[in-house]
Subunit: 123 residues, 2 copies
DNA sequence: CTGGCACCTGGAGCGCGCTCCAGGTCAAGC
DNA sequence: GCTTGACCTGGAGCGCGCTCCAGGTGCCAG
């Protein structure tokens, strides 16, 4: 099990050090290991979990839902069904998000094409 | 040219009345017509423009870029090239956004599948 | 003419997700 | 042992995009 400094962890996870501390504070990251002197030491497990968090954040899950998910994850195997449910609901939201995004992207492309015609017809 | 009340416009555009006022204030919506008594009267043109704004917002364009676009749009035909450039840059950003979203959506689905296997292997 | 609801203005406030700060401590290289 | 840079804590602050509020006016149905 490799150990990582905060800055290394930040580099690998893409979260700033401040954000890592913030996540620990609000319970998204459960009690990170420390050196005798009190500096954080992250593990591969932490990095894996941070990858999960990155996935959820990038797909737009709000922090408080992530906290709920983190809490479930800390509470043992009998919460797996709840976790699946939460993730499935989120996946559905993401599907809607992608559909909307693609639709509006289409409109955007139309607009661009329209302007391009204006531009070429102009001179 | 049909005329629309604020609430009708809100209903049709999906922006709240407060947001419509806010957009006018910051120059996203150029001077909306008024009744003699000072109440706003929106036109079909306004609704069309609001559709454009809706498209840009839904695809994540920040407000200040939208303001720049609005300003260009108000400044006549010689800004069309600039507008195209702005929209094209935005379209590229949207493509990246969609790519990331799809990638993370894939991870999310993987996670769900993983948990489902845990669940079925459990009892 | 009046009641009542929609709308007006300017400005304050809010929720989110960080980000920054002051003032101090830790730890690795010379 | 000392320096120096990374890290610590608790708490304040921030940027975004609205949203709400007080106190007042407009407009239309009955």
């Amino acid at each position: 099990m490799t150990a990582y400094t905060p800055s290394e962890t930040s580099r690998r996870s893409g979260f700033s050090i401040d954000t890592l501390r913030y996540y620990e504070r609000i319970g998204l990251l459960s009690e990170v290991d420390r050196t005798p002197g009190g500096q954080r030491v992250f593990t591969d497990d932490d990095l894996g979990w941070l990858g999960m968090l990155r996935c959820l954040r990038d797909t737009g899950m709000p922090i408080n839902q992530m906290c709920r998910f983190a809490e479930l994850s800390r509470s043992g195997d009998q919460t797996i069904a709840d976790r699946v449910e939460l993730l499935r609901a989120h996946a559905e939201a993401v599907e809607e998000q992608m559909a909307l995004l693609e639709k509006q992207y289409g409109h955007l492309r139309d607009k661009i094409r329209y302007y391009e015609r204006e531009l070429s017809g102009q001179r």
